[in-house]
């Protein structure tokens, strides 16, 4: 039996020990609303691609911290299909379930109709078998030698040091943890303007301003592949106390990404304009959605140890995102071309 439950948290949540720092401290009341989706289904033994066999250990009770906006939406679907009992713990106000882009009305109704109000509170007296943490490849110390491997030096001063601290905490608590470090995540429902930034400009027929030389290399990973990676880790003893980089199989230059977005969405090859970011003061606005440096990580460890393989190539993945989301006219943030105009208006651009 699988259940999908979502609740607003309260301070004295029974499954969170008082010493756990992992609950956001700003939470207050238990709103009492809970939604439970049951799936009467025997758990299938999951057969991953590749040589490794995962021992099926039965349906699990899974708590997802978050899970209503992006990664978790896809992940919870996969987990429920696997027959697990999934609880979503959200701080936010997003609807507990939403129809996935591309999901048929029928499928969604099936999923949603199994909603039930649980008769009892979910109690957390059972020991936690596994803590899977969504960390970030942003923790790696910037380097001239690339790609980043899981054994590389990390940067304790990085913007993502909270992720590092959490990884240490998990390790020090003796928890059976696995940490997943994605690079840039993309796909339908993405609320971080990664592909959206390019699609806005392509739709508007505008040139794409890329900082410096445009040869900086980055890496995108599709959210569905990331969700699948989480599922692959689940119940896999090999993953215990391991860190895995999870992203796309290949990397791409900034210029190349602009072209890939155009190709994926059926636009003609875009005009790319390079500029020197040091010559501009954009204030608080971000003129480009990626960090201005090489940033990519090898996914070899996950492939080798877990048998996980990303399904989406870059152009296919961007097409998936466009066709199911941004190409339909949906977007998270409206287009803002202020910084573009600053750049283009100057006509002080580096010839490429």
């Amino acid at each position: 039996m699988a259940r999908l439950v979502s609740m607003q948290p309260r301070q004295a949540s029974p499954w969170a020990s008082s010493s756990s720092p992992l609950l956001p401290s700003s939470l207050s009341e238990f709103s009492g609303a809970a939604l439970s989706i049951s799936l009467q289904k025997r758990r299938r033994t999951w057969q991953p691609k590749g040589a490794l066999q995962v021992t099926a250990s039965g349906a699990k009770k899974i708590l997802i911290m978050g899970g209503t906006r992006f990664i978790g939406v896809f992940l919870s679907r996969l987990l429920v299909k696997e027959g697990h009992q999934v609880t979503l713990f959200t701080r936010g106000k997003a609807p507990i379930t939403q129809q996935l882009p591309g999901e048929s009305d029928q499928d969604y109704e099936d999923f949603k109709s199994k909603a039930k109000i649980p008769k009892s509170k979910l109690l957390g007296n059972d020991p936690i078998h596994m803590f899977i943490y969504c960390s970030s490849a942003g923790v790696y110390l910037k380097s001239d030698l690339l790609p980043h491997f899981e054994t590389d030096a990390v940067d304790p001063k990085s913007r993502h040091k909270g992720k590092l601290e959490t990884e240490s905490l998990l390790d020090s608590r003796g928890v059976n943890w696995t940490s997943i470090r994605p690079v840039y995540i993309y796909g339908p429902l993405n609320y971080n303007p990664v592909e959206e930034w390019f699609f806005h400009r392509l739709k508007a027929g505008r040139p794409i301003p890329v900082p410096s030389s445009g040869v900086q290399i980055t890496q995108l990973g599709h959210v569905k592949d990331l969700a699948q990676a989480f599922v692959t880790v689940l119940g896999n003893s090999k993953a215990s106390k391991q860190v895995y980089n999870i992203s796309g199989s290949k990397y791409v230059t900034f210029d190349g990404l602009a072209r890939a977005c155009a190709k994926a969405a059926g636009f003609p090859e875009p005009e790319i304009v390079h500029y020197n970011p040091k010559e501009f003061d954009f204030g608080k606005k971000k003129a480009f959605p990626f960090r201005d440096q090489h940033f990519f990580a090898s996914i070899e460890k996950a492939q080798r140890e877990l048998g996980w393989v990303p399904e989406f190539g870059l152009v296919e993945g961007l097409a998936d995102s466009y066709n199911l989301d941004f190409g339909r006219g949906t977007f998270r943030k409206p287009a803002d071309f202020t910084t573009d105009d600053m750049i283009l208006g100057k006509s002080l651009v580096l010839q490429s």
Binding site: L145, D152, D171, V215, G256, N276, R304, L348, L350
Partner: protein, 550 residues
């Protein structure tokens, strides 16, 4: 047993201390197996894991000893006599010999030729004393050269096209050779937006190596494999790689790097290549029909490599970026690597054969530098004609005042103008103000020429693309301007405005010498020339000016 020791070098430079799955070891395989303690898989957190730490004390090295008689292979290496690839055959031969295989190296050409006076050929005696055979001749006559000798494996590390390899491959088939290996090139990959080059990616169909690869695939070898290498370092390598950087660094010369310096490339230690080849020999079934990118598993940027070389040499580094087209030089001659991302990953070797890379650039470069000094190359007199051409075109500011004037007089004496008929005879020092308020001290005099595409196009912030933004100090007397100039040695940004206020006889002195934006043509003669040719952020030397319009 020299090679065995090499492979089991105590400092295990492998960056992957986490467990890596090893290929199933068949009874036929010979392998160098390194086991690291399982404890190493733990995440290190507060202390950031040292990137290239030496092998943890708990690691254990287990080396399977020499092959049993049944596993012994008779290997023929057809080796080039030139360029950077010769060293591959040498290392491969060494490794095979130390594993107990029989090796013959057929080098192209004559034993007595001048080419044999260079490494790695000068080390061929090592092969002979290890039990190998070395012969010379034309590969097209390989059958005649080796006579009735039988071989199980042939490596062609010579041909770049079908004409050269076909005779060898055809002979190998007729002679019953089981496994045929070919050193191709990663240069045949079509450059794409998505990186890295991975086995299976599109290649340039008309490339010589590609035709060879296709031909091999069509023959009936029990096993064939293709290896695509890139750039290598290692003792015996005849082609400049790291040496090019050392040459400049030890002579305190700036290192000119084309483009942004962020281009990525693979620099592998040649032992990585020979270990991959050896693994293919020992796993001929698994390697059959496969393409292997014969490279280490890390790429490095051009700038990064320069930094590592400087670190290895224990010297300071000065990098200058330039646009080869703007300077008018052939980047191929000016720089040892292709001016683009050229980055492949050895995914097939890892997946199919469980191969691991042991290249550790920071450590390897130290070793390379030691040898560089040992052979006396650091003292060797050298010309840097192309470098000089690049520097001249960028009008690099040299650190000391004397050097600078010498440089100017030699290079471009019109820099100093003479106008006896002038009404107002003045000396000036020009500085460019191009940095926005919050950027750091790039304006230091010594680095004035670094990475400035803008300089050659006279573009800067604020005005139109053709305008100049400058500050200047104006003095009637030469002595005074020289005195002011001496105070500007740390670059205008550090104290220039104060010096201007103190010394300048121009009303702009009160504003720290700021002249604001002015278009080309507004300012008179020499002032204009100097203003628009001084690099953005740099400070020109004193020059004589005519009546200056402000």
């Amino acid at each position: 047993m020299a090679a065995a020791v090499t492979f089991a070098a105590p400092a295990l430079p492998s960056l992957h201390s986490s467990s890596c799955s090893l290929p199933p070891l068949t009874h036929r395989s010979l392998s160098f197996v390194a086991f690291t303690s399982p404890a190493i898989t733990k995440l290190s957190s507060h202390r950031s894991s040292r990137r290239f730490s030496s092998a943890p004390s708990t690691s254990v090295f287990s080396i399977k000893a020499a092959a049993a008689a049944a596993d012994k292979k008779r290997v023929l290496v057809v080796n080039t006599n030139s360029g950077g690839h010769a060293v591959i055959g040498f290392y491969f031969a060494q490794q095979l010999l130390s594993s107990g295989h029989e090796v013959t190296v057929l080098t192209v050409g004559d034993e007595s030729s001048d080419k044999m006076k260079k490494p790695p050929f000068t080390r061929f005696s090592e092969l002979v004393s290890a039990g190998g055979k070395t012969v010379w001749g034309n590969p097209a006559q390989v059958g005649d050269i080796v006579g009735t000798a039988k071989f199980d494996v042939v490596l062609d590390n010579n041909g770049k096209d079908l004409d050269t390899v076909k005779p060898v491959a055809d002979w190998a088939i007729s002679a019953g050779v089981e496994q045929f290996l070919f050193i191709s090139s990663a240069g045949i990959y079509k450059p794409l937006d998505e990186i890295p080059h991975v086995e299976g990616d599109l290649v340039k169909d008309d490339a010589g190596h590609v035709l060879v690869e296709k031909y091999m695939a069509g023959l009936s070898f029990s096993s064939w494999a293709v290896f695509r290498p890139q750039y290598m370092i290692g003792s015996g390598n005849n082609k400049d790689c790291e040496e090019w950087f050392f040459d400049r660094i030890v002579r305190d010369r700036p290192v000119p790097i084309p483009g942004s310096g962020m281009q990525l490339t693979n620099i592998s230690h040649v032992r990585d290549l020979s270990s991959m080849l050896s693994l293919a020999v020992e796993n001929s079934a698994a390697a059959n029909g496969k393409i292997f990118n014969c490279v280490s598993d890390r790429a490095v940027t051009f700038d990064g490599l320069a930094k590592l070389c400087a670190q290895a040499a224990g010297r300071e580094l000065k990098v200058i970026h330039y646009d080869p087209k703007a300077v008018g030089i052939d980047a191929k001659k000016a720089f040892p690597f292709r001016n683009m991302h050229f980055y492949a990953e050895p995914r097939a070797a890892k997946e199919i054969m469980g191969w691991t890379s042991t290249t550790n650039l920071p450590e390897d470069l130290k070793e390379r530098f030691d040898e560089y000094v040992k052979i006396g190359r650091d003292k060797k007199p050298m010309q840097f004609d192309i470098d000089d051409k690049i520097l001249e075109s960028l009008k690099v500011a040299i650190s000391s005042l004397d050097e600078y004037f010498d440089f100017l007089w030699n290079v471009n004496s019109s820099f100093i103008s003479h106008d006896k008929g002038s009404r107002f005879f003045a000396q000036e020092v020009m500085g460019r103000d191009s940095k926005p308020k919050d950027s750091g001290g790039k304006g230091k005099g010594k680095q004035a020429a670094a990475s400035d595409e803008n300089a050659s196009k006279g573009k800067a912030k604020g005005g139109k693309s053709s305008d100049g933004l400058a500050r200047h100090i104006l003095c009637e007397k030469q002595g005074k301007i020289n005195e002011a100039y001496k105070k500007l040695q740390d670059g205008w940004l550090s104290n220039g405005d104060k010096v201007a206020t103190e010394y300048s006889e121009c009303p702009s002195g009160k504003k720290g010498g700021d002249l604001g934006w002015f278009p080309r043509g507004k300012m008179a003669g020499p002032f204009q020339d100097v203003a628009f040719s001084t690099l953005v952020g740099a400070t020109s030397a004193p020059f004589k000016s005519t009546s200056v319009q402000i």
